[in-house]
Amino acid sequence: MKFIRFLKECFKVIVRGSHRYYIWLAFLFGVIVWGSTGYIQQIKQGLLVTNMRDPISWAYYIGNFTFLVGVAAAAVMLVIPAYIYNWKPLKEVVIFGELLAISAVIMCILFVIVDVGNPLRLWHMIPGIGTLNLPSSLLAWDSLILSLYFVLNLVVVSYLLFNHFYQRETKKRLLNTLILLSIPVAIGIHTVTAFLYNGFAARPFWNSALLAPKFLASAFCSGPAVLIILFQILRKTTTFEIKEEAIWKIAELMAYAMFINLFFFAAEVFKEVYSDTEHLVHLEYLFKGVGENRDMVMWGWTSLIISVIAFLLFLIPATRKNVITLNIGAILIWFGVYIEKGIALLIPGFTPDVLGQIYIYRPSLIELKISAGIFAIGFLIFTLMTKIAIAIIFENFNITSLKKKPA
């Protein structure tokens, strides 16, 4: 009963807002509708409306999925120092990291759904009803662990906000157990997603033991980069509070993660270039082009260069603590990892294909439309949840304040 009341009051919070808030919502709804028209077309005509074909059978959708799994895993980035070391400035904002994780996982699931040829048959994957291929299929594992991560974060966040709303003490032990559990699960979602690629012996570009560690390192950069930007936007536009030192701390941790990411990349480049086997061709396709085909080269170098610049900006304390360079760094990291996961991981992995043929892929307008729609859904969910969380945490929105007001 109490929970229904809580949900009702939350609903009231999200429908009330400033002009800016309504414009933002209208914009998101617009993009969602625009994206939906693309999806309707895709449902009617099939994935033929994308530019994926047999040689490149996964592309932009699955690239976005991979990137967003990293963003989702990043909530842990804040959880670890905040809870284990009881570091206060971060602890206050951890919940927003978790809200981001929830939104990101929803986007992940949507990207898988739009990529699947028969979405109505997805019930075949439900354990006990369908025939989930465990333990051998990595996609089966991925679906399970992503669901678990989603539920965990949802429970933690609802529990925190619910108790905050009713001004009750949280059961520390229960909460801490759940939060501690979410750490290995966050690492798990990204590891299993990496293993999904890693396990294909047919694709040497992914079949490297460094893939999962590299996924984690890059996620520990991109997720917090999104958070740094979001926190500042929230601080400007709402009553949300975050201490400068918390942001600097996040930026410092990102610098370490980026260093590890770049080091892993260098190790892979050395192995491929020095041994100079036929597997080198995929890396060549990304940074040099194969024959006439230089489609990927721009992306490969852009991603690498901006990642290095961002690393330097975050490494040097002066640029890390300067608002402008900090934000430039965060945006660069975001783009760097987005290109790396969204484009530079999948396309060169498939090119040349297993029979040595080259198919040039560029996302179609419909792929871009649908992806924009999914991002808008994610942003919408994040906006609404954040609005509730800010009201409860910073704006004294709770049961007593409601009681004081005349109904």
Partner: protein, 304 residues
């Protein structure tokens, strides 16, 4: 014990009916467009591997009615099981193949692949004699007045029917498996279309129906098998099945029959007197990408 059992089974029943009901409810909206009972039956159809004989019979009846409506002619769908004591193998004589691609088109005719964009289960690669079997320098799109082209040889690649198939391992829903007679098959009605198997296959042998399946009713092959050449669906994966509809009737695959130079050999690996066993014993065979441990049952050899 018996009470427990009864409770268990009723619970199971309840859960099943509940799940079935909820599945029905959630999909009603989507299916409303089709509106018919057969669409609902199709949606709720089980995985072929776990169907009873009776259920298979019902499904086949539904499919045959559906195909007759769709293509305006009678299309028979067989569910014939594997013959006893058979385990199929294939051998291809690289020294004979001239790269004429007759096999490619005979396969399309026999197996009802979609026409737009045209799908080929057999990919013939042109390779330079000097380089040997080297995929990175292979050309799939060769166009010559005459074949064989000077200085080149040809390597047709289709499903290698691996004993250790990475595609089967990767499928999240068990929609693909190896039959008793050694054919890797797909249940086109169970495949969700995630394309993991396509990323997993080292031979590019799996193909996807990117758009609506387009078949010419005039040229459609009406003798089909459930796991083979029956008309397929948008959004599902398919592949070479050694012409399961033929070989389970004791016939040769279409590509073997059509090859003008007799480069293609097929037979039962368990039969010591078969041609395939003769080749394995008397010729030196090779398999593609042996380092991946896929253990193909599709062998290549140099006959002359």
């Amino acid at each position: 014990m018996s009470i427990k059992k009864t409770i268990g089974s009723t619970m199971k029943l309840n859960r099943r009916t509940f799940l079935k009901a909820s599945a029905v409810a959630s999909s009603t909206a989507a299916l409303a467009a089709c509106g018919s009972k057969s669409a609902l039956d199709e949606f709720l159809q089980k995985n072929f591997r776990f169907m009873s004989k009776q259920e298979i019979g019902e499904v086949i009846q539904r499919l045959e009615t559906q195909y007759a409506q769709q293509y305006g002619k009678e299309i028979s769908v067989s569910a014939k099981e594997a013959l006893p004591e058979t385990f199929f193998g294939y051998a291809l004589d690289i020294s004979r193949c001239i790269g004429c691609r007759k096999c490619v088109y005979a396969c399309v005719e026999e197996n009802n692949q979609t026409q737009a964009p045209q799908m080929h289960w057999i990919q013939v690669l042109e390779m330079e004699k000097e380089k040997g079997i080297d995929f990175m320098d292979a050309n799939l799109y060769y166009q010559h007045e005459e074949v064989p082209h000077e200085g080149h040889f040809y390597l047709p690649v289709q499903c290698q029917q691996c004993k250790n198939p990475p595609c089967v391992k990767s499928c999240p829903v068990n929609a693909t498996w190896t039959t008793k007679d050694g054919i890797v098959v797909v249940d086109y009605n169970w495949c969700i279309g995630c394309r993991c198997c396509m990323a997993a296959c080292p031979y590019g042998a799996r193909h996807y129906n990117w758009g609506q399946v387009e078949l010419d009713p005039e040229t459609i092959n009406p003798d089909t098998h459930y796991l083979g050449n029956r008309p397929r669906y948008k959004g599902a994966v398919e592949k070479c099945t050694f012409c399961i509809q033929r070989v389970r009737e004791g016939r040769y695959p279409a590509c073997v029959e059509v090859c003008p130079v007799g480069a293609r050999k097929f037979g039962n690996l368990l039969d010591p007197d078969s041609e395939i066993r003769y080749i394995l014993e008397n010729k030196r065979v090779l398999i593609l990408k042996e380092e991946l441990n896929t253990q193909p049952k599709f062998y290549y050899f140099y006959g002359t």
